[in-house]
């Protein structure tokens, strides 16, 4: 049992990571996937890997595509974090075979776990770190000092090209290994150390003359975080911990006599660190919002309403999701005020130069029949993605809007691209069969309905006059119940009761079997405002 204790700890850690991401943070995983599109093409490989750290970015993107299935994504994260820990354990135990401090090797993985709670942390970093640790492990296996020196000086720049700024971890680990494991202070070690440090300090600077990229990113790395600007602490916390753990292994004296105490204290420490990491990283509100977004994206309208019945959403994004679901389930006119409603932003949020909110708004406009506006919001969301990745979700939506608009050549272009992915291929193949086939499109309930709803007469869309836009849409197709209910909801939320009263009779064409409850309340209110005749 004792001999397998490290493996058992790793397994338990892996299970904990998996459980967390698979059952408590699954919508974060799903969220990650939608902001990239991994393609099995040579061009995609070239495009991704043709910059510093490109190989790690490519592999990170490859792994992220599997986040389409959150449990698979959780498994991938768990395995990668365990690999990081195992590699650090390998390096550390090689340096000092008898040690009672093995649980320290979990620290970098726990830090990374915390970082991965942030939806903008990319998989590139974990992959880059693993490649770096593998390179350092290989260094340890080279017996000859001069060969090691050559390997360090030759491989460090190559590693830099593959993984970016994290290559400094390889250099510093190699130096640590040289002095603590090989206990070598000969000429080869000195040359290796000086050469390594010079490479660490000057290589990114030298690259800045040839590579067109900001200097700070050449030093720190690309694609570790979705936003290009991120604090140095983000990188250093993980890099320093990875180099420090093997040093601590050697430096901290063994407490053989107090082995039980030592292990227990570490275990408690690791558990506390995990608790702190998750307390600090876990964002329940974002998980909730992402859950709503997932349900909307997968058209699970009933589940949105059921979820809201347990706890009413209160952010503009999730309220917009709920209202869409209420409209799609036919509950909006009766029950929208059963839930928290703030203002019209919860119906049709205003445009923001952002990559999240416009996606939700695009869903609402799409279901209403404002196909061009839905297309615009989806396109803008993809354009606003800070790491310039293409989005599988958006390309799918753009293929649909172009299909509905009869722009088959553009739809074809997007579908051809989606065909080169794993998880969007099925959709692409199915939709490809609809192109230039009016009969097939008209037989599709969603596309044919949206074709009937979309405006036929051109006008310039005005966000400041959403009621006018909704009115125009409804007048075009008086069976468009959602447009009518959004129009009425808009007047109710803005308190424009006069317009509500004016437009209320238009609802006749919808064919309600009763006056919707919300409208009854509004009419009662209006009735009280009219002076009673004596």
């Amino acid at each position: 049992m004792k001999q397998y204790i490290n493996q058992i700890f790793s397994l338990v850690f892996g299970l904990a990571v998996f459980t967390f991401f698979a059952f408590f943070y699954q919508y974060h995983i799903y969220y990650q996937e939608q902001y990239q599109l991994f393609l099995f093409t040579g061009d995609y490989f070239t495009q991704m890997s043709y910059h510093i750290g490109g190989l790690a970015a490519y592999l990170g993107s490859f792994l992220t595509q599997f986040f389409y299935y959150p449990k698979l994504g959780a498994l991938i994260i768990a395995v990668l974090l365990v690999i990081v820990q195992e590699l650090i354990l390998f390096l550390s135990t090689m340096m000092k075979r008898q040690s009672y401090w093995t649980l320290l090797t979990f620290i970098p993985s726990i830090i990374y776990w915390n970082m991965l709670c942030d939806e903008n942390t990319m998989m590139t970093g974990v992959v880059g770190l693993i490649i770096t640790l593998l390179a350092a492990s290989f260094y340890m296996l080279i017996e000859n000092g001069w060969t090691r020196m050559v390997y360090l000086i030759v491989f460090a720049p190559l590693l830099y090209v593959m993984v970016g700024g994290v290559y400094v971890v390889f250099i510093f680990l190699s130096i640590v290994i040289e002095y603590f494991y090989f206990e070598n202070a000969s000429t080869s070690a000195i040359i290796g150390t000086v050469g390594g440090v010079l490479i660490a300090v000057f290589l990114p600077y030298a690259c800045s003359f040839f590579v067109q990229a900001p200097l700070d990113r050449l030093y720190l790395g690309f694609d570790w975080y979705r936003f290009p600007i991120v604090g140095v602490g983000f990188y250093l916390s993980i890099w320093i911990s990875v180099v420090l753990v093997p040093i601590l292994f050697v430096v901290i004296p063994d407490m053989k006599k107090h082995a039980f105490f030592c292990t227990t204290a570490q275990f408690v420490g690791v558990v506390l660190l995990i608790v702190f990491a998750l307390y600090n990283g876990y964002n329940k509100q974002k998980e909730e919002i992402m859950n709503y977004d997932f349900l909307i994206r997968s058209k699970q309208w009933d589940k949105v309403v059921q979820k809201a019945q347990k706890k009413s959403p209160n952010t503009p994004m999730s309220v917009a999701d709920l209202n869409l679901a209420l409209a799609k389930t036919g509950e909006m006119s009766d029950h929208m005020f059963d839930f928290f409603q703030r203002d019209p932003q919860g119906l049709l949020p205003d445009f923001q130069r952002d990559f999240t909110l416009p996606l939700v708004t695009s869903e609402v406009y799409y279901q209403l029949g404002f196909i061009n506006t839905a297309q615009r919001y989806a396109f803008e969301a993809m354009e606003a993605t800070p790491d310039y990745q293409k989005s599988g979700r958006v390309l799918r939506r753009l293929a649909e809007t172009n299909l509905i608009n009869g722009e088959y050549k553009v739809a074809y272009k997007y579908l051809k691209i989606l065909q080169k992915s794993i998880f969007y291929r099925k959709f692409a193949n199915r939709t490809m069969a609809l192109l230039w086939n009016e009969k097939a499109i008209n037989a599709d309930p969603e596309y044919s309905w949206l074709r009937k709803c979309r405006p036929q007469k051109d006008f310039l869309f005005s966000e400041a006059e959403k009621d006018m836009m909704l009115g125009t849409l409804f007048v075009h197709n008086r069976k468009n119940r959602m447009a009518f209910e959004y129009l009425m909801a808009y007047y109710l939320l803005t308190g424009n009761m006069q317009q509500f009263a004016k437009c209320f009779p238009l609802g006749k064409s919808i064919g309600y079997d009763h006056v919707p409850y919300t409208y009854q309340q509004a009419l009662k209110y209006l009735g009280r405002q009219v002076p009673q005749s004596k």
């Binding site: 061009d43 061009n372 506006t373 509905i404 051809k416 051109d458 310039l460």
Partner: protein
């Protein structure tokens, strides 16, 4: 040992030759090959990069045979793509310069060889300027992403970035324009906090704030005086709007716009009431090839956006005296929008001064988003208009510019899918006759299928620019030179 080496070499070559499928029992068809890009029956400059193409069918082997007298260029490939070796291509094109080559394409489909109708490549001895600059941008609405100004060698496939938004504080940038197609005379505008007009003149880069208290904004559309000392600019307040119906996406219009001339030696701005009338909109200025006139577009103000369809621009010109930087008092109307029923944009005079090419659209000032936008060419001596039927498509054709020898025109066309603009080249022969255009060749013929960027404002140049994106990054940290 040597014999053994040659034996192995012959064996290896033999294996390769044996593996390359060659046509047999060919069935001749009367149709042209379904090639993409469409390089059938076109006129190309002898110095163009290889016209690599693919067949849009189920071909698993292709043969392309181009023949011009004794010169032959033959390529047999597995798959459905033809990518010519650059050395063989250049040799063939040099031999065929000024002549017409016949091109035969054969393909193996489901095990059977077919040969398509032969087509022609007319290989013009008029050289095209070897470099092309453009702005790579997604056909977006308001938000842009990964914006770059790029220079490409059209004799090969090398590209280099001349400005990258990552290196300029994520700022947006306007397109890059040359003066006299000279790589030592060009400019572009970088927006944002530290933005300014980047002027590349005689090997020196400057960052200018070409604005004074009289101008509406910094320079937007620009053109150089042939001397290089002056630039003519429009200053515009630009508003985007969004269409609700399928075939239209974006509308961009000006609520205000004026024209001014900037003196790069004295850092001074000059204008005149005819170019800065607040009751009309003036834009798209460009100098004539002798520098004695400024051509520009002008429209009477209407109630925007309500009356956007009534916004139609005339093509006008006004004289300019570079010696004392004065303007004429009379404005000539070259194209009357009211009479002709169209709106004119982007006038560009050929360097030999004979022709002026402009874009016509139904209305407005942003033809790249107007499907009906077409190019037209006016003979500046006779005033006759050529509607360039062979050049235009049923999608937007605009953003044109000339080569230094006035024989080649490059423009952005959305003819493929209606959304993504690509650079097309068109030969204008000595008689002024336009020939069928062809798209900028790419190393991988499927490039345009996967590419999600538009090529905006393609401009030709006689040589390579002397700066790159890192030079611009450094320049952006400097203070702007002010204008008065």
């Amino acid at each position: 040992m040597k014999t053994r080496f040659y034996y192995i070499l012959v064996w290896v070559i033999g294996v390769f030759v044996a593996c390359t499928p060659r046509p047999k029992d060919v069935n001749k068809l009367s149709v042209l090959p379904p090639m993409y890009p469409d390089y059938t029956d076109i006129t190309v400059p002898y110095n163009i990069a290889p016209l690599n193409f693919l067949l849009r069918n189920d071909a698993d082997a292709v043969e392309c045979l181009a023949q011009c007298g004794e010169s032959v260029l033959q390529l047999n490939k597995r798959g459905h793509e033809i990518c010519f070796p650059i050395a063989a291509w250049k040799k063939f094109m040099n031999e065929a310069k000024g002549k017409t080559a016949e091109v035969k394409v054969s393909a193996r489909i489901n095990g059977r060889w077919v040969q398509y109708r032969t087509f022609k490549w007319q290989i013009a001895s008029d050289k095209i300027d070897p470099y092309l600059s453009y702005r790579l941008i997604e056909p977006d609405y308001e938000v842009w992403n990964h914006l770059q100004l790029v220079e490409r060698c059209v004799e090969g496939f090398e590209e280099h970035v001349i400005c990258d938004h990552n290196l300029v504080d994520n700022s947006c940038m306007n397109c890059h324009v040359y003066g006299n197609q000279d790589p030592k005379l060009s400019l572009f505008y970088v927006r944002g906090k530290n933005g300014g007009t980047i002027l590349n003149r005689n090997g020196k880069l400057r960052k200018l704030n070409i604005k004074n208290s009289q101008t509406i904004s910094s320079g937007v559309y620009a053109g150089f005086h042939p001397s290089g000392r002056y630039g003519v600019f429009s200053s515009n307040i630009i508003i985007p709007a969004f269409h609700a119906v399928d075939s239209k996406r974006l509308e961009v219009y000006d609520t205000k716009s004026d024209i001014f001339v900037a003196d790069f030696d004295r850092n001074t701005i000059y204008s005149c009431p005819q170019l800065s009338d607040s009751t009309v909109l003036e834009t798209f200025p460009t100098f004539s090839s002798d520098g004695r006139y400024i051509y520009f577009c002008t429209a009477r103000r209407v109630d925007l956006p309500k009356e956007i369809k009534r916004l139609k621009y005339n093509l006008c010109r006004i004289s300019f005296n570079a010696a004392n930087h004065t303007f004429g008092t009379k404005v000539d109307t070259i194209y009357n929008a009211r009479l002709m029923g169209h709106s004119v944009c982007h006038p560009k005079v050929s360097p030999d001064g004979k022709w002026l090419v402009y874009t016509v659209a139904d209305y407005g000032t942003f033809p790249i988003w107007h499907r009906e936008a077409d190019l037209q060419m006016i003979n500046l001596r006779t005033g006759t208009i050529d509607k360039l039927a062979v050049v235009n498509s049923n999608r937007s054709d605009t953003y044109h510019s000339w080569s230094s020898n006035s024989r080649w025109l490059v423009f952005a066309s959305k003819r493929d899918d209606g959304l993504y603009g690509k650079p097309y080249f068109c030969y204008i022969d000595r008689a002024g006759k336009a020939h069928k255009p062809f798209v900028l060749p790419q190393k991988y013929p499927a490039f345009y299928d996967d590419n999600l960027k538009s090529f905006n404002i393609p401009e030709l140049s006689k040589g390579k620019l002397s700066f790159n994106a890192v030079d611009i990054e450094r320049l952006m940290k400097k203070e702007n030179e002010k204008f008065k």
